[in-house]
Point group: C2
């Protein structure tokens, strides 16, 4: 079971505490009565998607003895126009940096995460169409 | 458009930065090579759900001139047993504290969030069955 508690801290500020004991602040835009002191709740879905797939890809590339030096993940999403404005489309791009990386290994790691392992992707894809891509940047 | 970037910080640590400019650390359990220095990516989905619905409920109760003094939200979720272990069931409980709160107003605020406004709920419900409940604690 995964658990979390969220507590109102006044105005639009909320403190989220995860079952593993970590806390963070969420807040709204000033247009909605917030102070922009923390992330918007919907942004957490995108960050979770990036973290989940990133962990998979690093693990897989390390198992494949790839000399990975960096990984950046860009996530962009569209919402429905009308309330409740669910996520409808997500694009996720992986920029993998390393030394003499095998393109085949990177491609396979991305595919394994997206198709087999990433729980956040497997959850969000029931609402949003998720498109993934990758770039390899070999360093000296 | 909602955007986020996630950057690998070594081992299983990832830094998520939201499009609104806020950052947080994600990490894995030591069993998976992590240091437990931050939240698990899947926990973010639950925290986002709590924050999203919490903002709705506070806004609605304030518009209804209710004297709300506190709001706590407990979120528990089940995953599928097999990979990719998507979310299959979520329970969310709202504990609303206030002075002379109208049960009808609280009930309606929870319903409006769950059925009409909360974008995170509207996204996750395509993967998981979401059950909500509430408790009212009137203070002197």
């Amino acid at each position: 079971m995964i658990t979390a508690k969220v507590k109102w801290a006044g105005d639009m500020q909320f403190i989220g505490q995860s079952g593993t004991g970590h806390a963070m602040v969420m807040d709204a835009n000033p247009d909605f009565g917030g102070y922009d002191s923390g992330m918007r709740p919907m942004e957490l879905l995108l960050i979770g998607l990036g973290g989940c797939s990133g962990m998979d890809i690093v693990s897989i590339l390390k198992k494949k003895k790839q000399d990975i030096r960096g990984l950046e993940i860009k996530v962009n999403a569209q919402q429905a126009e009308k309330y409740p404005k669910r996520l409808t489309e997500i694009s996720i791009e992986f920029i993998v940096k390393g030394k003499s990386l095998s393109e085949e290994a990177v491609k396979r790691a991305v595919e394994l995460s997206m198709e087999k392992y990433c729980s956040v992707k497997a959850t969000l894809e029931h609402s949003a169409k998720i498109i993934h891509s990758y770039k390899i940047e070999n360093v000296d």
